[in-house]
Symmetry: C2
Subunit: 160 residues, 2 copies
DNA sequence: GTATTTTAGGTTATAGCATAACATAAGCCG
DNA sequence: CGGCTTATGTTATGCTATAACCTAAAATAC
């Protein structure tokens, strides 16, 4: 995993958005997929915050930006982004978040702060390995995973 | 974890229900909580199958058994069971399943078969440890986890 | 053993999350 | 440019979940 700041660190957030969009363009170009206006705007909305947004929250922002205001508008864009690893669904929250390292890691591990709703992705490999081992012992073949932890980020821990 | 059969093994399933109910009674007695008729029936419904059931599916079965047929009837019973570790919510499926080892393991790891919908709980400790380590590196304190894998169980793998 | 408090169950209503199905428009390619 | 494919817009609906209020049953206090 590249050494990017995680959501809990103070960082120059303007890079998150610009980098994210640039990387998305690169990835989609390779796959001959189009980053259409709605998709681009949707990704930008997710990249703007290090937290998960509900589909209807995204939809409202899309509507403000002049796109359609019916649920499928948001769900389709989100589905596309998830499919291409540019965003993830956070199942615990029924919400979506931009992927912070779309090139490298398609088995995300989420840390969800219940204090400030910040969301960080963290090193998946050791966790994935442990899960694969446990699954293998049961004769089970893992295809997709959701690994999420709810708790307190460093800042909220201090505040508490 | 006691050496019980997991969902993917062939086993005498009648024990699952009777044992599950007996253990629930023991656990709740210690906590001075009541296993009322709806709660008991709900647990029994979940224990009857090694898969996750949607709340409305549980509700239908409760209604058949003579209990109320409004959503809160099912949700309240399910919430109670989850709270006391007798059932779990499977977030990937928005559904509920009986806990297979309610005394010992309150951080379940689920293996969900996409072929037959069977659901197994597996050894949580190593996975939990890896997750805790990753979280700790980010300064994050884990309070609750959801760890779920989607894939193929041994039988469905052969069938495929 | 009856009154009081607490806990649980029932019901109505509504909120929040998600998708099916169909119509229109925009890019792609012969 | 005509037909194909992909994407967007819209209507309608289904599934998941909870708030709020009322009644009943159990625990506890007297």
């Amino acid at each position: 995993m590249p050494n990017q700041p995680n959501a809990f660190d103070t960082h120059d957030h303007s890079h998150c958005t610009t980098d994210g969009l640039a990387r998305a363009e690169g990835i989609l170009a390779l796959r001959k997929q189009r980053l259409t206006p709605v998709r681009r705007q949707t990704l930008q909305i997710l990249l703007a915050e290090h937290r998960a947004l509900g589909a209807y929250e995204v939809l409202d922002k899309l509507a403000e930006a002049g796109f359609g205001k019916q649920p499928p508008v948001a769900y389709r864009a989100l589905e596309f982004l998830v499919e291409h690893g540019l965003a993830h669904k956070v199942r615990r929250l029924n919400a979506f978040a931009a992927c912070m390292h779309p090139e490298t890691d398609h088995a995300p591990v989420f840390l969800i702060c219940r204090g400030c709703n910040a969301l960080a992705e963290t090193a998946a490999e050791p966790v994935r390995a442990a899960l694969d081992a446990a699954a293998h012992a049961a004769g089970f073949t893992v295809e997709r995973t959701s690994i999420e932890a709810l708790g307190l980020c460093p800042k909220c821990k201090v505040a508490a």
